[in-house]
């Protein structure tokens, strides 16, 4: 008998290590991880070069320069987002288990009972330190990156979803990775997945 389907959706604040946590969980559970690599799969399916998608990934649609007519939008950001949502839905419908990072997945896959939505946040000081270390940037730059990325993610998420980005009511678990470190955070999330 095949194993029960499980979809782990991980939303994250920039610098919280949410992506690294998702990678570790995917590795431990031997599951595919879907993040920006979705673009390559979509590009392969459409027989186009992935580079044309990259700059529009997880970017909010720009107000005042976008218009929607009969459900068609001129916004490349919105069209790509919809393609990614469709990709995730198809994967979920196929019965595949996977880990997905961001992309409004906790809302897009809400109808799937096997989907476990998790949000990883962090203390500002810990996030700054992590970004300075990982990106090799100054403190000011790290602060600026956190501010910009979180604003973009929030705007992207809140445009497509009814629930607000980071609002604990949209997730089964919201966890601060700064308090116990990434490794322990992974363990706690995995323990929750096992129990559920």
């Amino acid at each position: 008998m095949s194993e029960k389907q499980v979809i782990i959706s991980i939303g994250r604040e920039y610098g919280s290590g949410g992506h690294a946590i998702a990678e570790q969980i995917a590795k431990n559970k031997n599951l595919p991880l879907y993040d920006y690599n979705m673009l390559q799969s979509i590009a392969d399916e459409k027989e186009v070069n992935v580079s044309s998608f990259e700059k529009y990934d997880e970017i909010p649609k720009i107000p005042f320069v976008s218009r929607t007519v009969r459900g068609f939008s001129n916004s490349p950001e919105e069209n790509l987002a919809q393609m990614q949502f469709e990709f995730l839905r198809k994967k979920a419908e196929s019965g595949e288990s996977f880990v997905v990072v961001g992309r409004c997945s906790e809302m897009v896959l809400k109808e799937f009972d096997c989907m476990i939505p998790i949000f990883v946040l962090g203390d500002m000081e810990a996030k700054i330190e992590r970004i300075m270390r990982v990106r090799e940037v100054s403190r000011e730059k790290a602060m600026q990156l956190i501010k910009t990325h979180d604003r973009m993610r929030k705007s992207y998420h809140n445009y497509y979803c009814t629930g607000k980005w980071g609002d604990s009511r949209n997730y089964e678990m919201s966890i601060n990775s700064s308090k116990i470190g990434l490794e322990e955070t992974v363990k706690i999330i995995e323990a929750y997945i096992e129990k559920r």
Binding site: I42, A43, K46, E47, V48, S52, F53, Y56, P63, F64, V65, S66, R67, T68, V69, R70, F72, S73, N74, P76, N79, L80, Q82, M83
Partner: protein
């Protein structure tokens, strides 16, 4: 003064909400239309007559609404029901045609006719886009044309983006040629009493000249990108057969005949006296009668939101009209042009074009009609000349940006969904110069012919 301010505020709020794209535009215009009825006509003017005049329902029950013996014109005040009935009627016909596979068949047949060579496809699709858009709404034309273009691009290994952009431009250009091609023209025609023949012999000539120049322009713009794939067109490939596009032969034949009947009725409506409202309703009824089994599906496919958008829009513009604010705008244009017709034409074309490049050209055209009417009355200028200027400005100006016209939005969206996202830079690179080119042609043509 308070009345004028309320009407202007409601109008500006409507435009702002349409631009933000936060709410569906029919909800915006209906909400603002209700606000106009309650606040402007009710609280400020205490005028039931203004409400009745703006709702304009009584007009539908007059003979002149369906049949015009002379050159009578549709009432300009309030909801332009003729435009709405015609647009919905044509939507029903187009739904029937699409269901039967007409558009896909036409695209594939033309591609086959030119032996699937990239450059000939590029040229013929541009012309086809213009010709179809003369009679059918540009959204439908581009929806099918862009989809087939991407399909052929994948097969023939060329980049479909230049072709989609050129098709979008030509659809807007084709729409400007006739009374029924583009919503601003339908509103202008029904509001001011111009016929299909009036449009085709005026804006149609400008569009025809422009099409020739634009085809050459786009060829030189994109030839390098398209010629690259031209060499590989001889490879053995499985080409889709045009016949495979036809879902049902009987439906296909019927929808083609109905389309041709619609074209004949539109072309001859000045002679027969049948109004566009009659033609729209007649065509819709005939389509539904012949496809009665699928009537439900066809009616479901009709975009009622657009009809509701028009209802709300006309009420808001009716509010502006009742308060006399549009006459003030007309006086302002008269003042700065000093009554010079050439200057008035230039102002109308270029201001309409710039506005239509960024905001929906339908509300803009609806607002400008009372303005040009007032302008013609006060300056003695020929109203038709101002109407052609308004038509070309609003129809062509919308081609400049990805959000200027519905066809642009649909074309770029279809391309993006197939893996070819089109940003503002790519879009504007060729379409802004092409727009300026056609606007220059229009201005010079109108100056030489009428001023």
């Amino acid at each position: 003064m308070v009345t004028k301010m309320c009407a202007v505020i409601i109008f500006l709020v409507m435009f702002a909400l349409i631009i933000t794209d936060k709410f569906e535009r029919h909800l915006v215009t209906l909400g603002c239309g209700a606000a106009t009825l309650i606040v402007v006509f009710g609280f400020c003017m205490h005028s039931m007559d203004a409400v009745v005049e703006t709702l304009n329902v009584h007009n539908i029950f007059t003979l002149g609404f369906w049949y015009e013996a002379g050159s009578a014109s549709e009432s300009t005040g309030g909801i332009n029901w003729a435009t709405i009935i015609f647009i919905v009627g044509m939507m029903v016909m187009v739904e029937g045609m699409a269901k039967a596979g007409f558009f896909r068949w036409l695209c594939m047949a033309i591609a086959k006719l030119v032996h699937y060579r990239t450059i000939p496809i590029f040229v013929t699709f541009m012309i086809m886009s213009s010709v179809l858009a003369m009679f059918i709404d540009s959204i439908t034309v581009i929806l099918f044309l862009a989809a087939v273009t991407v399909e052929l691009a994948r097969l023939l290994k060329f980049n479909p983006v230049p072709m989609v952009l050129a098709e979008v431009f030509c659809a807007n250009l084709g729409g400007s040629a006739t009374m029924c091609g583009d919503p601003p023209n339908i509103i202008i025609g029904t509001s001011l009493g111009y016929s299909f023949a009036d449009f085709i012999t005026n804006t149609g000539v400008i569009a025809g000249i422009s099409l020739v120049i634009v085809v050459v322009f786009f060829y030189f713009c994109y030839r390098k990108q398209l010629i690259q794939s031209e060499g590989s067109a001889d490879e053995k490939r499985e080409y889709p057969s045009p016949a495979s596009a036809i879902t049902n032969k009987k439906d296909f034949a019927v929808s083609t005949v109905i389309f041709l009947v619609a074209v004949v009725m539109l072309v001859t409506h000045a002679q027969t006296g049948l109004t566009v409202a009659f033609i729209g309703l007649f065509i819709a009824i005939v389509t539904l009668l012949f496809s009665w089994k699928d009537a439900g599906k066809i009616l479901k496919g009709v975009d009622y939101k657009t009809a509701l958008f028009f209802v709300g829009l006309f009420v808001v513009v009716g509010g502006l009209e009742q308060t006399g604010i549009l006459v003030t705008i007309a006086s302002f244009i008269e003042k700065i042009s000093g009554g010079n017709l050439k200057l008035m034409v230039a102002i109308i074309i270029w201001v309409s074009a710039v506005a239509s490049a960024f905001i929906d050209n339908i509300p803009f055209a609806a607002t400008m009609i009372p303005v040009i009417k007032s302008l013609a009355q006060t300056t003695g200028a020929d109203l038709s000349v101002l109407a052609w200027a308004l038509s070309m400005g609003t129809d062509i100006g919308g081609s400049a940006t990805p959000i200027g016209a519905s066809a642009n939005v649909v074309g770029t969206s279809v391309a993006a969904r197939e893996g070819y996202p089109i940003g503002w830079g790519t879009y504007c690179k060729a379409n802004v110069p092409a727009t300026i080119l056609v606007l220059l042609i229009s201005t010079i043509f109108i100056w030489l012919r009428y001023c």
